[in-house]
Structures are given as structure tokens and as C-alpha cells.
């Protein structure tokens, strides 16, 4: 719907306006199921070519900020409604979640001449697969009818310019594996019911479902590690204190419950 009260000055598209529009698009694109509500997590943002070239250098920063805002909104949606502080298990609120590992935001210049300066046209998908019934929604800041010409959607839902921040090599019961880190949080463990890990180790029960977490600070581009396990995580042979975040060097060996070792290396 048109948001004329928040319409920006033409030609001056602000980062906040883009983020607000993303959140609105996400909420409009809800896909309700029996026990959960899927939200779109793949967004293609079309900007006027002038806006695109003006903001091109800061797309990564806008994306980081937007991902935080989207994550915060999902957390807010998942705050369970309580009546007099009592929850009835039979009336559980549906969980809001995304059908992907992380948010995917792609900024694209509008080549069809349909997006005016100062506007952003957002096409969203519920996941990366183009499947029937899995569509997200399309919105524009200025209340225009979004353009749906040209085969835009299939072309933009797959990332080919993914930035890899680090790599993690290891060998578990599935043989030698390589994990490319392209997001700011990597949860590592065996995984389990409702606990899919980003990096899932195919191994025995000595390894916790969520064993440790690697976090990247986008501002400083530095990595940190925090142990969450029962049987411990070792960084360069030294056992980490559970729950205490430590800086992760550019190259490090990470011991997992004395079962296996992962080699971490940042990419320059």
C-alpha cells in the first residue's frame, strides 16, 4: 500500500527508508502454515540507476544493518503473547521463521526505467528455490504498481557474488568437508530437533547439538568464538571457558570435544 506520509524527497533515497520498506515487504509476504509462519528471506531491491551508483559502495553496510533490523523484527514477532502471564500449551503461537540460513539481499539497478529516483522496488521470495506456492511479495516505496515484466525473478534469486569471509576445513564421519563462511554467525554442532546448525558435524553424541558459535563483527571484520558445549571446545590446544567469547585468530585450529579438529582460516 502507498506510504505517502513517509515518501522521501525524490532522488534522496535514505537507508532507513530502504530498511523500513524491507520490513514491510517481509511482513506482507508471510506464508502461514500449521505450526509456523514463513517469512521471505530473499530480497531483490531495484533502485533507480542514479541511486544505485550513489549507494553502490555502501550496499554491504546497508545489507548488514537491514539484516539486523529484519532479525530484530522476527524476534519481536516471536515474542510470545501472554494472557495474565500464563501460556496454554494447546494455544502455542506460531513460530515466525525463514526458510533459509540467512537473509539474502541483492541490490540491482533498474534497467526497465520503471523505478523513479528515490524509490525502491522490492521483490521477495520465501526461499532460494523458485517453486510454485513459495512466492513472496512485491512492494514499492512510492505505492507504484511493481513491475513484473521480464524474467527478473529467477535471475535474481541466486547469489553469484557471494562474499566468502573465511573457510573451515574438517573431517567428520562424512569425510573431508569444506565450509565457506559467508555470513556473520556460524553455529557449529551436531544439530538436532529444531536445531539445524549452519555447520553440522556428522559425528557421535560426544559433540553437543550446538557445540560452539563463530561470530564475525562486520565493523572490524574480526572473528570471535564462544563455546556452548558439554564436552568442551579447544582453541589452539587451550580449552575455552563455556559461554565466554574469545577472539579467533586469522588461522586457528578448533578442537571439538576431543573428537575432531576444525581448521579455521579467514580470507583476505
Amino acid at each position: 500500500m502507498a506510504q505517502r506520509d513517509t515518501m522521501p524527497v525524490p532522488g534522496k533515497l535514505s537507508g532507513q527508508a530502504v530498511i523500513n520498506e524491507l520490513i514491510r515487504n517481509m511482513e506482507l509476504g508471510q506464508f502461514e502454515m500449521g505450526y509456523s509462519v514463513l517469512l521471505p528471506c530473499v530480497f531483490s531491491l531495484y533502485l533507480h540507476p542514479d541511486d544505485y551508483s550513489r549507494l553502490e559502495g555502501v550496499f554491504d553496510l546497508i545489507a548488514e544493518d537491514a539484516k539486523r533490523a529484519l532479525g530484530a523484527r522476527v524476534a519481536q514477532l516471536n515474542t510470545k503473547p501472554r494472557i495474565l502471564g500464563v501460556m496454554r500449551p494447546g494455544r502455542q503461537a506460531k513460530e515466525f521463521k525463514i526458510a533459509g540460513r540467512d537473509w539474502i539481499l541483492e541490490f540491482l539497478p533498474d534497467t526497465e526505467g520503471t523505478v523513479p529516483a528515490g524509490d525502491v522496488e522490492i521483490h521477495s521470495e520465501l526461499n532460494e528455490t523458485a517453486q510454485p506456492g513459495f512466492r513472496g511479495t512485491k512492494t514499492t516505496l512510492m505505492g507504484r504498481e511493481p513491475s513484473v515484466t521480464s524474467p527478473r525473478l529467477p535471475a535474481v534469486t541466486r547469489r553469484t557474488s557471494e562474499v566468502v569471509y573465511a573457510e573451515i576445513r574438517y573431517e567428520d564421519d562424512s569425510g573431508p568437508q569444506l565450509y565457506l563462511v559467508s555470513q556473520n554467525t556460524v553455529r557449529v554442532g551436531r544439530g538436532g530437533d529444531d536445531q539445524p546448525m549452519d555447520l553440522a558435524l556428522y559425528t557421535n553424541d560426544e559433540v553437543s547439538r550446538e557445540h560452539f558459535v563463530v561470530r564475525r563483527d562486520p565493523a572490524t571484520r574480526r572473528f570471535f568464538i564462544v563455546d556452548k558445549s558439554v564436552n568442551g571446545t579447544w582453541l589452539e590446544g587451550k580449552r575455552l571457558k563455556k559461554g565466554v567469547e574469545e577472539a579467533l585468530p586469522d588461522r586457528a585450529s578448533i578442537g571439538v570435544a576431543q573428537v575432531l579438529t576444525l581448521s579455521f582460516e579467514t580470507r583476505k
Binding site: G90, G100, N127, T129, S182, R190, M197
Partner: protein, 277 residues
């Protein structure tokens, strides 16, 4: 006793949206624990003949010999080569394939080319085979991301095949043999590149997680998803689910159990209250 007690299997094979013939073949024998996807090469009749030969020779060999994965693939290789030499229209035909043998919660894989074996466990998916292609090697080495590899123009150039020349089972750079434990709560997906060129591992996983006890339905859904994404090649998939594999259904089942047990507790309380009075 069957080799895959309690496992369920579903498969699907489809020409895709661009090609008018299907040079892929799938073979499943749940009782024997033999699963095979084959992608024929050599153009129309030749590609189909190569794939068909592999699906006939390999099970026969495994039935007659002990579980010798390398021997079975080599037998198929030499038969395809022999037929190619004898018939002009089949000359140069070959195929790529992934053969999985499940025995006592142990998987043995024999693999040549760029078809794939994935393992799904605890909500995540991982690839168990290497791709014997330039692009596959770059991807497996971390020099290309999955998305970059999928968009690469040389994606389909393989440097290992079954059938283009005579082979010995022990030849270097021929058959990749690997073994893994198969946990009861895991699932295996064998597929040709018609699936993995169209869908990322995560996209494949999203579909597999919708499993509700019918692996054939998931197999068909995967083919449909690959066709929706373009269907540029023949698409073949085999899904083998372990006896305890539940996909996302585990989530729903847990919730139903919680709700049921809540009502049961409430009912018990009411009964106790009535008893007291």
C-alpha cells in the same frame, strides 16, 4: 533379512524441459541395498544405451559377486566400451554414475563423474561425493562458491566417465570409492546433475525436509522444483530415508505430542478432583 531394514526408498526421473529424451537411468533394490543413478552421454540413442547398460550390468555383477563396488562399475565400463566398439551408432558412448551400497548401517559409494550423493541429517545437508570436473574441483577446493559453480559455463565438462575406454578396477583417476556410517536418522539423496545444476544444496534440503513418510513424493517434488528452476537437463533422484528419518515432520509430531499430553494431564487432574469429592 534385507540390507536396509526399515529404510524407505523413492525415485523419480524426468527428461526436464529442454531435452526430449531421457538419458538418465535410476535403479533401486531396497532388499539388496543397491541404489544407482546414471547419466548417459554420447547423444540420444547412445547416451540412453550407455546408461541402460550400466543399470543392467551393475546389479547383475553385485548379485553374482560379493559387494564389490569397483568391480561392478568396471564391468559396466568394459561392457559399454565393447558395445560402443561393435556398433557404429553407439561409438564413444559413456556415462557418469553414483552407486551406493547400504549394508549394516554402513554405506559404500562408488562414484565416477558429476552425479552426486548427499547426506541429510539433523536438518542439514552435505555432499559426500566429489565432482570429477574442473568446475567441481574448484568448488570442492573452495575456489568457487556453490552459486558461482552453478553459473559456470564449463559446469558440464567431466574428466572421468564410465565406458569411453577399457579399464581395470584399480585404475587411478577412475572410480572414487568411499565408506560412511549410515545413521538411522539420516537420509541419502543420489541425483544426476540435472538436479544439482538447477538447485543449490540448501534448496534441495528445503524440499527434503518436507518429508512426511513418502520418499517418492519428495523425489517427485525435487524433479518439479528443478523443472521450475529451468529443467535444462534430464533430472533423476533417489531418496533413501533411514528408519528414524523424519524431516521436518519431527517438529509437527513433537508439537502434537505436547498438546496431547497437556490435555491428558488436564483430564487426569479433573478425574482426581472428582475422585476426591
Amino acid at each position: 533379512m534385507t540390507a536396509t531394514l526399515g529404510c524407505r526408498t523413492g525415485s523419480a526421473s524426468d527428461p526436464g524441459l529442454v531435452r526430449d529424451n531421457n538419458e538418465d537411468r535410476v535403479y533401486t533394490d531396497e532388499a539388496a541395498g543397491v541404489f544407482l543413478v546414471v547419466d548417459g552421454m554420447g547423444g540420444r540413442a547412445a547416451g540412453e544405451m550407455a546408461a541402460q547398460t550400466a543399470t543392467e550390468v551393475i546389479p547383475r555383477y553385485l548379485n553374482e559377486n560379493e559387494p564389490d563396488v569397483a568391480g561392478a562399475i568396471t564391468a559396466a565400463n568394459n561392457e559399454i566400451y565393447r558395445l560402443g566398439q561393435q556398433h557404429e551408432e553407439w561409438q564413444g558412448m559413456a556415462c557418469v554414475l553414483t552407486l551406493v551400497l547400504v549394508r549394516d548401517e554402513q554405506i559404500t559409494v562408488g562414484h565416477v563423474g558429476d552425479s552426486r550423493l548427499y547426506l541429510v541429517w539433523n536438518g542439514t545437508i552435505r555432499k559426500l561425493t566429489s565432482d570429477h570436473s574442473l568446475v567441481g574441483e574448484l568448488e570442492d577446493g573452495g575456489e568457487l562458491t556453490e552459486a558461482q559453480a552453478m553459473a559456470h559455463p564449463k559446469r558440464n565438462e567431466v574428466f572421468r566417465d564410465v565406458g569411453s575406454r577399457p579399464r581395470e578396477a584399480t585404475d587411478a583417476e577412475f572410480i572414487e570409492i568411499r565408506s560412511f556410517p549410515f545413521r538411522p536418522s539420516a537420509a541419502l539423496l543420489l541425483c544426476t546433475d540435472g538436479l544439482s545444476d538447477m538447485l543449490t544444496a540448501e534448496e534441495i534440503n528445503t524440499v527434503i525436509q518436507r518429508y512426511c513418510g513418502d520418499p517418492s513424493a519428495v523425489a517427485r517434488e525435487l524433479v518439479e522444483a528443478a523443472n521450475c528452476a529451468g529443467g535444462k537437463d534430464n533430472i533423476s533422484v533417489i531418496l533413501v530415508t533411514g528408519p528414524e528419518f523424519l524431516g521436518d515432520a519431527r517438529h509437527a509430531i513433537t508439537q502434537v505430542r505436547e498438546i496431547r499430553s497437556w490435555w491428558r494431564r488436564m483430564l487426569n487432574r479433573v478425574v482426581r478432583l472428582i475422585d476426591r469429592h
